[in-house]
Amino acid sequence: MTNARPGYGSKFFMSSDNVHFTPVAQLKSFIPQGSRQTVVDQTNVLTPDSFSRPLAVRIDSGDIDLVGILDPANTGILQLGTAHASLALYFFQIVLTDGTEYTFQGLVIEYVPFTVTYNKAMGFSAKIRISGALTGPAGTA
């Protein structure tokens, strides 16, 4: 049996003080682009075979892309612009459908306040750059 859950019902919160969290409203999706290790090559003349030896030295938690439906006066959306303009590190919390939580700090490095197409509903988007680790049920991830 494969257990699966829909994305619907998941929440994405943000806070400037790590106390008062506000959900980002009307999100269609939030998709991490993935955490990535930086590696250096430690292969040398003493390496016993012909295969390289990478050494992991640093982890970059990457970005999270947000895409939503615009409600122009909704402060749950506008808070992204406030965070973007402040240059400040914000606190974020993700709660998945089953209640699993992830937390992290990050910068709103990109903010598109509106996208307009004459025959489509208006949208917005943003990109969060994670600072440090994403912390989830298994610790840092």
């Binding site: 619907y8 009307q26 999100l27 269609k28 439906i69 004459y118 025959n119 489509k120 509903a121």
Partner: protein, 144 residues
């Protein structure tokens, strides 16, 4: 609801005079939902909602705003009559009216023509019946 609101707009609004003139008189007896009664005087009009999904959805739910497609079948005794009624409809709904509240309270914004063509003639009791099919895309929020 959308179609009754459109019916009232097209048959009773002074702004829709061009549409009413192109219809058989009285206009209120010659606009129908889904199908027309046999023996209806021509030209007449049939309204159909061919698509009415929410404009979008998000993690917060679906929108009340509907991204709809409405079909207007204009029937006449000649191809010219059918085309004249269809063109009057298109020009009124997209240009003259364009956006606003329908008499039932539904708010609507017409945005595009998605289909506009002539259908093959049909044999009637004592002649032929011609139809011009027009589909318009509109965003709307129903009052009830």
């Amino acid at each position: 609801m959308l179609l009754p609101g459109l019916y009232s707009l097209l048959t009773a609004s002074p702004a829709a005079a061009a549409v009413q003139t192109a219809l058989s008189q009285p206009p209120a007896d010659n606009v129908f939902f889904n199908f027309a009664a046999k023996g209806t005087r021509r030209p007449f009009l049939i309204l159909n909602l061919v698509g009415g999904p929410p404009a979008s959805g998000s993690l917060d739910g679906i929108t009340a705003l509907i991204e709809g497609e409405i079909q207007f079948d204009s029937y006449g005794d000649t191809p010219q009559d059918a085309r004249k009624l269809s063109r009057a409809l298109r020009d009124f709904l997209l240009n003259t009216f364009n956006a606003g509240a329908l008499p039932d309270g539904t708010t609507i914004q017409f945005v595009d023509v998605t289909m506009d063509h002539d259908e093959p003639y049909e044999e009637g009791g004592s002649g032929y019946l011609y139809r011009t099919l027009l589909r318009l895309k509109a965003f709307y929020t129903e009052a009830s």
